[in-house]
Every structure is written in C-alpha cells, then in structure tokens.
Assembly symmetry: C2
Homo-oligomer: 137 residues x 2
C-alpha cells in the first residue's frame, strides 16, 4: 500500500516541493516529460507520477487527459478559488503547435440526463493558441 490510503501521512521532500513550485509557477498544465525537462534534476519517472498523483488526491492539483492521450497536471489558480478541492468543469486548451495545455476561464454547465452521475470532467479543445496563431499569420 504505497500509493494512497487516506490515512497516509505526507512527508516533505525536495522533489515534492520542486514539482509543486513548478506547477504553481507555470500558467499551464504539464505532463511528465515536461516536468522532467523543466527541473534538471535526475528524478525517476515513477517518482514523478507518484508525486503528481498524491497532489491530485490531496486536491492541490488536477489532472487533464490530453487528446494526445497523455496525462497533464495543472495547479490552476482559477478553480482553487472556487472550493477547497479542485473543480474541473471548465475548458482546457491544448496547442497543437507549441504543445501548451492551459486552463481557460469558460466554465461548462453540465446537464446530464436522468440517472447519470458525473464524477470527472474533461473538457478539452485543441488547436492553435494565440501566440502560435499570431506567428503563422
């Protein structure tokens, strides 16, 4: 039982704070690869995933699945304000050119059919972001 179990006490480590700081400073979501590149520490892949997932469990960060199938993680200032835990009922945008995945402000009002119980929300648009779009024109 390494991963979660709510009664597990978290410990502060260098890697955790480095990763958390990075996410907090970024204005966009990062995947495992981006994190490895950004921090030029030698951290194992598994360690990164474990740390990121623990952040998710603690509600400090949220996970978005990109339309590239990869897991992205975002601190996301906006939704932090709404509640203590993260809310994901807003749009995300992934740029096909620079790869940046960011949280947009637009919230989505969900109206599920009778009997449906929504648990997780993943609203993603991909295309070209304002900076990349400007360059091509």
């Amino acid at each position: 039982m390494q991963l979660s179990s709510d009664n597990m006490k978290r410990r502060n480590t260098q890697f955790k704070s480095e990763i958390f700081d990075l996410l907090q400073q970024s204005n966009h979501a990062l995947n495992h690869e981006m994190i490895t590149e950004a921090l030029n520490l030698k951290i194992d892949r598994t360690t990164i995933y474990r740390i990121l997932n623990s952040f998710c469990e603690d509600g400090k960060v949220h996970k978005i699945i990109g339309d590239d199938g990869k897991q992205y993680f975002a601190y996301c200032e906006n939704c932090k304000k709404i509640k203590n835990k993260h809310s994901h009922k807003h749009l995300h945008f992934r740029c096909l050119s620079c790869g940046k995945l960011e949280c947009l402000k637009q919230r989505i009002d969900v109206d599920l059919p009778m009997g449906y119980d929504g648990k997780m929300y993943n609203f993603l648009i991909s295309g070209y972001c304002n900076t990349c779009n400007a360059v091509t024109e």
Copy 2:
C-alpha cells in the same frame, strides 16, 4: 504513404464493412479492444486502427479520447445530421462501471479567447451511467 493522402481510393473489404456496421449498430463508442471482442474475426490490431482512422478521415466516424487515455470511435447519429462531416462539440459520457462511452445530446457553446483557433473538441464526463447507477441503489 499508406495511411491517408486524400487522393487515395478506398476499396470495399469485409473488415471495413464489418467494423462500420458494428459502429453504426452500437449506440456508443468503441475502442480497439471492444471491436476485437465484438467481431470474432481474427483481425490484426494495426488493421483495425488503420480502418478506424480512415473512417475518421472520411468523416464517417469520430474519435474521442477517453479519460482512460484510450481512443474511442463512434458513428454518432446526432452529429451526422448537422453536417456532412462530424462535429464534436457535444458531450460524451464514459461509465466507470460498465465502460460504455456514449454521445450525449448536450452541445457545448465554445467561446474561445481572442486569437485562439479551435480545431478539435473533446468534451468528456465520466461517472456512472443510468443503468449502472440504478443497479447500485
């Protein structure tokens, strides 16, 4: 150049029609694994992906990335009506219990910030569908 190139002429084959029929008859999206199980033919993984991607290119089917990171493909009657090509600006729902991924009717009005150019849309909620939800209660 096997995959796409718009000037490639499609040929009718057993596998293509079997897969297309299956998608059309299903009221939900299927991934590679589900298709392999449903048709008990011996079709290679690569063949299935190639066929599915060709359907996507031809606009006969659309692709949704599940929050499990897998590619799902749906015929989706609803969006067929709107245009000749598929539109993806509607909600999808994936059941965490039975695994079914279906298109919902609710459309999403997207209002991207200035300078953003949206190309692909992936709106997915996961949770418990009406049938699975009914069972647990």
